[in-house]
Subunit: 435 residues, 3 copies
């Protein structure tokens, strides 16, 4: 028999997560193309995800699935015929979705197509242009300032043609049809924290849940940012109504503390579950209200859906100096952070799974816990009595309306301790579950 999710452990998963990220890191992903397919095929070796192909040109709400972009090679040769910038060396060198080019031009004309970071002169920036047909290269500002006048040769051997948008979807059915969504974007090329870390946590969370007895149905989406969630929502409007709670997973490998961005509704079960899970760690964390900037929560929380979806990350996008540069590499990501992130995601899932409402069957005065062996018999002392207190909290608040999460919030006690107290009281037939 499968374990209940409350009993699951994901201890010691950091190595596997890192192995997956190391394999995926060199691949040049974008919002469409073979890099995405290769990535999903590798993930498919770990969890049985379905790979979905949506044709270019498909209307998805106000958007259209774009042409598929693939890239073979791209470089700039200097006046001396040497390659000065080469996509083959680092896939961030090319602006994502650059159109094909094969052209010679002087430096001043080339300059209009170059992107660099004057304040981080040693890093290659990450740039894309999905919906405006241009081309460009990204390079270290140090290098850019050393480019000499003369004629440069630009070669971009890309294709931008009708094809497909590709995404991965994994559904783990549970006892009930209500769904928990975990969504991560996989459209970034060689960037580790944003967002191979999110992908890795999602994959290994899925792997753990796959083996367990599940109350809820779990849906994992591995999608290109923005257009991916829009495409999924456009094709799954009915399914979306079954989403009880969801998280957008990103930036989960950097050494920063956790950060939770609330859903648009702001006080849904997922919002409260995440905050209790974070509180229970005893470590520092930050919580912010919904803002319509960020990742795919922008779409899940658009007013026409308004889903209970938040985003649980470590350092949020744009707030760490390596963000969207070549410094967001595998060294930025620590094993400890990956492991902690996976455990935090599992912890949140465990709260959702165990968050039930009970009814105290002896609501008038306290039941006599002592005669059932559930209360210390020697009165008068003040020794630590957290276990007894947790039981009294469950009894006192369980009126059939309030959930264990309510009790954990109100009491300030750890959710685990409250859930354990409820289990003991249920076994003693002092409470019953409210349907």
């Amino acid at each position: 028999m499968s374990p209940r999710i409350g009993q699951l452990s994901v201890a010691g998963s950091a190595g596997e997560m890192r192995r997956l990220m190391t394999e995926l890191f060199p691949i040049c992903r974008s919002i469409t193309g073979d890099g995405v397919r290769r990535t999903l095929e590798i993930v498919q070796q770990l969890v049985p995800l379905e790979i979905i192909e949506v044709p270019s040109g498909t209307a998805v709400f106000d958007w259209t699935v774009p042409n598929e972009w693939n890239i073979r090679e791209a470089y700039i040769k200097g006046p001396d015929g040497e390659k000065v910038v080469d996509f083959g060396e680092h896939n961030l060198h090319l602006v994502g979705y650059s159109v094909p080019v094969r052209q010679k031009m002087p430096l001043d004309e080339l300059e209009e197509h170059l992107h660099s970071l004057p304040e981080q002169p040693e890093l290659i920036p990450y740039r894309t242009s999905y919906y405006k047909e241009i081309w460009g290269f990204c390079l270290r500002h140090d290098q850019r300032t050393r480019l000499e006048d003369g004629e440069y040769e630009v070669v971009i051997d890309s294709s931008l043609e009708p094809g497909h948008l590709t995404y991965g979807e994994l559904v783990l059915p549970g006892e009930c049809e209500e769904e928990i969504l975990v969504s991560c974007h996989l459209c970034h090329p060689s960037l580790a924290n944003d967002n191979l870390s999110g992908l890795a946590v999602a994959v290994f969370l899925a792997k753990a849940l796959e083996a367990a007895e599940r109350r809820f149905t779990y849906r994992f989406l591995f999608i290109p940012g923005t257009i991916g969630s829009i495409t999924w929502l456009a094709r799954n409007q009915e399914t979306a109504q079954r989403i009880r709670a969801g998280l957008v997973a990103a930036n989960l490998g950097d050494p920063g503390s956790f950060h939770y961005k609330r859903s648009r509704q702001g006080d849904t079960e997922i919002d409260r579950a995440v905050q209790v899970a974070l509180r229970d760690t005893g470590e520092e964390y930050r919580v912010e209200d919904f803002v319509p900037f960020g990742y795919d929560e922008r779409q899940y929380c658009s007013p026409g859906f308004d889903l209970a979806v938040g985003s649980l990350t470590r350092t949020p996008w744009g707030q760490y100096p390596e963000y969207h540069t070549s410094a967001d590499n595998l060294e930025l990501v620590t094993d400890e952070s990956l492991q902690g992130s996976l455990e935090m995601y599992l912890g949140v899932v465990q709260i959702l799974e165990q968050n039930r409402r009970f009814r105290n069957l002896n609501p008038k005065c306290e039941p006599q816990l002592g005669k059932r062996g559930l209360y210390g018999s020697l009165g008068g002392g003040t020794e630590g009595r957290d276990q007894q207190l947790a039981r009294l909290w469950v009894l006192n608040v369980s009126d059939g309306e309030h959930s264990l999460l309510d009790i954990a919030e109100r009491s300030g006690m750890g959710f685990g301790m409250i859930a354990e107290a409820a289990a003991v009281l249920l076994a003693a037939e002092l409470i019953e579950e409210e349907e």
Copy 2:
């Protein structure tokens, strides 16, 4: 065609406001009498206000319009026959509404009619006695302590007889019947901040709005304190129901920062509009809850009316040392404060005028702003994107229920930036106005 109020400017009005105040300062005003009439006639040269006369004895709720008071001269002559206190020198020397007197008396008897400020010995206090028939003089404490024994001659050539209560009213009709009220008291004699500054700001706000296309109807009241608002409310009970928002204007020329006193209801549109306007300045300000002390908001916010009327001032009554003394003169008032106050009042009006509710016509996922030129095309960077963020906020929150003020509050972004975003989205047919 007249400008919309959103486009109005009141830049460079301080000089005109000061000119008006300088002309009005020497006039001896009270709650009735010729000083009030002269004041309103001078204002009438700037804006087309109506001067209303209400006969003494008229019942107004629990009150009665009092007799009209006029004063010709008043002085005290000392034992040596010299005038020691002379109303002709400063109109604060006489207690307002003093009854006629022509009498000789020793110093100790006179003392019972004298008022001075031991802690501000160089200043003349301001005192009145509208509803108890007495007489008295106010003088510098320094002078009072130097008065020598002997016989004094007291002359007050005043009249207190049936006449009228006089007030000014200016109505600027708008597209709709709902009204915005600006009320200021004009019953104070030579006191500049309290309240010629409030009167000046109201006059020049009215002058600016007169020239504009107005959504709302604007009503300006120039009234004696307490009895004036009671009289107006008693005579305009139906009109009062059309007041959507209002402000009591006073103390708007001193160099202090802004202070807003909320309406009795506390969270009406005017309360929120003022607070967003103050917040958007980025400067220090204070907000306090309604208290049934103060100016005419006491009457507008009495439970039988409970209007959405707050009071926006600089330093509140009683909180600056010059308050109700001869030091509240034209030097206390700065051009910068007057100008800033007028702009703040206009800013609040602009929020009220522009505060509409919209409905996102593409509520499922974000619309593609990029293809409409409303979103930067080069992804990946983190450059300032406030304009885009404002558009996303308007789209995300505009469900037909929430107003632009709601969005400015929730987003923390300036109302002007939100209103501009709404205008752009409206032009792009991405939102429609909710009736």
Copy 3:
């Protein structure tokens, strides 16, 4: 004619409270037995309470009234035949409800029955075992460590047999049937702050209220902790529904500041009345939310009753070092604290008694207070006008819905000043009481 409760004074009661506590201190009380009876008989000499006897074995909700425990003597004799621990010296030496024993045993076997406090080696702890039949002794840790090997003789001449649970109940009928409950536990042996202080305050509050004209009915319970309130609630389920407000009185003699633990509902009239009374003292105090640990509020606030009962104490249980030790003696309790506690309890009762709702009969604008002598006639000054402000607050908020407590909270003014203003306005026929 009896005084109204608003006029009551309990000044100078500390001496009488201390005399009562001194008389009661040596008695060995427990949750049943003759110590409880003797205690109630002594109290009966002060107030006409009824002594109720409930037979052992009576079912009270999930509990059963236990056998009655009485103790005659108990001691331990050392190897040399000398008494080393003697109940006759201090009744804390015996674990409450110890079963009869007459036995010799070596030290290591005896050790299993000894209780001491290594961190407070000079103090005797307080221990009980009501529902598990054991025996034990409590002693100073200093003494315990000096016990020598050898054979000890243990004698406990107790009885634990069917009898009764005894409690005291005093009802002071008022104009209406709604009840104010004051409950204190009397099951502790020689412990002064916990809870002879609570008992003394309750007795002298009752004595004061007995002599007054009462709006509400007052019910005082002198009961053993936990089983006492459970027994009372089981026998008085209908009466319990009439409890409008209640307080559990304990720890009222130590020098600490006041502490209020809210009812389970958290925002009932008693919660607000206590907080206003505490605020009005201007002294430091603490307020905490309901927690299902503590005294009999655990039962009154069980979800099947959910009564508006809080607990007003000085230093809460477990938070002072003398708690449940021999150091909780008459020296810990100060006259000043006892007196202040009694006054605070009376102050809360006075708020409850005077907390009525009124309706402003002139809701449109302020009534003219001046012509009724209720407002200073000389305008213009800023002298202290708290009395006038209180009247304006009562007029402004009295819409028939809001009570004087609401007004005291909203205005920040003392409840007494608000109540006085209401009395003046009522006499002036400006407000009427809302039924």
